[in-house]
């Protein structure tokens, strides 16, 4: 019964979304206040209805209702409760329902926190949001209904893919979707502004928090996915340039460009049509990502629905929304007269350079991702584009961005002198180069990757510190130190995010350049040296888990006779899903992770053992956390709290979830 109600709520939501996408638009055109006012309650109703549907599906999973097809395919009575819940979105239908729920959530937030918006703009934003909602609800109901029943319910389900039964992965999709779908707000604002025919500083201020929030969520989502890959897949890789990873990375890059160019619109009223275009493209890349993941056109490790019908439907959504928005853009963009005048050396120019680098980097990822498809369609060539290509083609952009960023962040608006802006940075530059040189001297016969990464990372971190210090103005060091805590949060956000980028760049270069690996056969009681650590295999035992069986090894790691850690890597078999997985054992450390994996028993006795020292591994995710924290700080800046609705000062424009 509850399941049918959930289904019914979804159908109602589709009807509401259709009304929401038409009535306010007409109202805004004709200046009929009543019609425009439909948008707000409609957005709220959509949230309630989709929320109910989602709750109904969750209920079916939690109570293991095996008369529902989706529950049979993705759940099992023995599965721990958290994975019963995360199983709701561990499949195509459920994850799409989550997507629609988040879309409705953003729509409702825009309705609730948009008091400051001019009524016509607000009505149009919500109407566009309604259209996206209607498209995806139709997609859900017509091709991927999560509420289908089965005729003869089985006694038990077929279990969730064991690789997905993991805390890191339980929360990876919701964050990614918050990011993807958050970009739909930027899109709605862009289309609404195009219909209105004007973009001003206030528009820049309204669109930026949504972009910032989406970007923060994407950052966290991507970081969670990469962290999961690191500890779960068994060899400590953290980024594979897989099409699905690229699908989330492309909107991230465009969103990063967008949140920088929106600053220029907000502060200087320049780059307007470019910002509108970016807002459209950002959501476009979200849709392309959805297409890549759910159509199975480009094979990848984690595409979960290989269904041409669904692919065609998404392609249709993509074509309608991108085609429509870009046509509107072509017709109206010339009306966006830029205002700000600025010289060639200025912060505006710095941000233009940032945008060029980020968008071209995104384009490189894009063309690499779709190239196999293009080559096969046009020339019948079956080829692959993998990590080596992306590493070669993408890295130069990272280096370029990192090299110019600290200076760009210090340039004043309108007119600047590069020499003068560079003056406080010379020390940081010298120190960074010295650090890189030191690293180069200490390592023997390896590539320049590590040292260069260290120098760039240090340059970014020092640059961010100097940026913050410079904001405190003149006076005694003590007075400036007192002032630094009272700087606007936007300043702190910028510094933190830029430093975070530096930390991540350094960590990626470090782990790639300085990793140590060892592969060998070990018998119980044997030991060997890895770097300065002695690793001893104490024993191997069989362990029974709730829904798996495991072979667990007990390793003792010592350094100079002192015990550092006991590590217990596992090899698991999930009988229901018929799948083996490896659970690496990791001793996390500030400067290195010790990473142990146990393999198969060997013919001559003993077990295959893989061990790594992964330098600065945690810094990768530490850096991304700093970036997300920086975004959040920026988001809570006073100007957004005020502009977002004075009555709800603490709630801000952020969807608090």
């Amino acid at each position: 019964m509850i399941v049918e109600l959930g289904h019914f709520a979804l159908v109602l939501a589709l009807a509401v979304a259709l009304v929401q996408s038409v009535a306010p638009l007409v109202g805004a055109q004709k200046r009929w206040a009543g019609w425009m006012a439909v948008a707000e309650p409609a957005a709220m109703a959509q949230l309630l209805l989709v929320g109910f549907a989602f709750a109904a599906l969750t209920w079916a999973f939690v109570t293991s209702d095996f008369s529902v097809r989706l529950v049979v395919l993705n759940s099992h009575t023995l599965k721990p409760m958290i994975y019963k819940i995360s199983g709701v979105w561990g499949n195509h239908e459920g994850s799409l329902l989550l997507w629609v729920l988040i879309l409705a959530l953003f729509g409702a937030c825009a309705a609730a926190f948009g008091q400051n918006l001019p009524p016509t703009l607000k009505a149009r934003v919500l109407a566009v949001q309604g259209m996206i909602g209607a498209a995806f609800l139709a997609f859900l109901l017509y091709t991927s209904n999560p509420f289908l029943r089965v005729g003869e319910p089985p006694f038990d389900g077929q279990d969730l893919n064991p690789l997905l039964q993991d805390p890191g992965l339980a929360f990876h999709p919701p964050f990614l979707y918050l990011g993807y779908v958050g970009l739909s707000m930027a899109f709605s604002f862009a289309v609404a502004a195009l219909i209105e025919g004007r973009v001003d500083a206030a528009w820049g201020r309204w669109v930026r928090p949504w972009t910032l929030a989406a970007w923060v969520f994407l950052t966290i989502g991507i970081a969670l996915g990469s962290w999961w890959a690191y500890y779960e897949l068994g060899w400590g890789g953290f980024w594979f340039w897989d099409p699905v990873e690229n699908a989330s990375f492309m909107p991230w890059l465009i969103a990063a460009a967008l949140l920088h160019s929106a600053i220029v619109v907000e502060k200087r009223e320049a780059l307007k049509s470019w910002t509108i275009l970016l807002a459209i493209l950002a959501f476009g890349f979200s849709l392309i990502g959805t297409f890549i993941v759910r159509s199975g056109v480009i094979t990848s490790v984690h595409a979960f629905a290989n269904d041409p019908e669904r692919g065609v439907f998404i392609l249709l959504i993509l074509a309608v929304f991108m085609g429509g928005a870009l046509t509107l853009f072509a017709a109206r963009a010339s009306a966006m007269e830029a205002k700000g005048v600025f010289s060639t050396v200025s912060r505006e120019s710095g941000l233009v350079l940032n945008n060029v680098l980020l968008t071209v980097a995104c384009f490189v990822v894009f063309i690499g991702t779709i190239w196999p498809l293009v080559a096969e369609l046009l020339w019948g060539r079956k080829l692959s584009v993998g990590a080596p290509f992306f590493n070669a083609a993408f890295t130069p952009f990272v280096v370029a961005i990192a090299a110019v960023l600290p200076l760009g962040a210090l340039l004043p608006w309108k007119r600047a002198q590069a020499g003068r802006a560079m003056r406080p940075l010379w020390g940081a530059l010298a120190l960074s180069v010295a650090l890189g040189a030191l690293a180069f001297a200490m390592q023997t016969g390896r590539s320049a990757l590590g040292p260069v990464g260290l120098a760039l990372g240090a340059w970014l971190v020092f640059g961010a510190l100097i940026d913050l210090w410079g904001r405190t103005g003149r006076g005694t060091a003590l007075g400036r130190l007192a002032r630094i805590g009272r700087l606007p949060r936007a300043d702190w956000g910028r510094g933190t995010a830029h430093a975070g980028l530096g930390v991540t760049i350094f960590a990626i270069a470090g782990i790639t350049a300085w990793q140590q690996e060892d592969i060998r056969v070990m018998r119980e009681g044997e030991s060997f040296m890895l770097g300065r650590y002695q690793i001893t295999l104490k024993g191997v035992r069989e362990v029974e888990g709730p829904n798996f069986r495991a072979t667990t090894a007990d390793f003792r790691v010592t350094r100079g006779g002192q015990q550092v850690a006991m590590l217990h890597p596992e090899k698991r078999v999930y009988p229901v899903a018929a799948m083996p997985t490896t659970e690496a054992a990791i001793d996390y450390g500030l400067t290195r992770d010790l990473y142990l994996v146990i393999g198969d028993p060997q013919d001559g006795g003993g077990y295959a053992v893989r061990s790594y020292i992964k330098p600065f591994a945690n810094w990768i995710w530490g850096g991304t956390l700093l970036m997300a924290l920086g975004g959040t700080l920026s988001l809570t800046d006073r100007r957004y709290r005020i502009a977002a609705g004075a009555r709800r000062a603490p709630a801000a424009a952020v969807p608090a979830e």
Partner: protein, 151 residues
């Protein structure tokens, strides 16, 4: 399928748990390093976007052994690559060649960058000399904007 059958399937499916196995490693560390580097550029054909160095599949193991065999025979890195591509086609290369239409793929990035920088430079030149246009906002709108932007 009943559970017992699934259980049997699970046991037979328990494939090698990780990529490079200890028995594959060549005694000569220099050759082994070269083998690893080559393996990173070769795709495991039955996997999705994994190199044979990362893959657990049997076919990847066969390819790894083949690469090592060729290296021990004295082939250069390029010869090993050519040998594998002859057998499996260019699909096996994770790093696409620059031949033929692939040139577009390799040039696309730098070309876009040049175009982007060129457009940006033109835009900046225009911005530098553009006259400050008259505000398009009405008086009341401007008052409201200053209100909002005040802090």
């Amino acid at each position: 399928m009943n559970r017992l059958a699934l259980l049997i399937l699970a046991l037979t499916l328990a494939a090698p748990a990780f990529a490079v196995q200890p028995d594959e490693i060549l005694p000569d560390p220099a050759l082994e390093t070269r083998a690893r580097e080559i393996s990173k550029d070769l795709r495991c054909l039955v996997c999705r976007n994994e190199s044979i160095d990362d893959s657990n599949a049997q076919l990847a193991r066969d390819l790894r052994l083949l690469v090592r065999e060729r290296l021990v025979e004295g082939d250069s890195d390029a010869e090993v690559m050519a040998f594998v591509v002859d057998r499996y086609g260019e699909y096996v290369l994770l790093n696409p060649t620059t031949g033929g239409a692939n040139l577009i793929l390799w040039i696309a990035g730098p070309a876009m960058l040049a175009a982007g920088l060129g457009t940006a430079a033109l835009y900046l030149r225009r911005r530098r000399s553009a006259p400050e246009p008259q505000p398009a906002l009405s008086e009341s709108e401007r008052a409201r904007l200053t209100e909002i932007l005040k802090d």
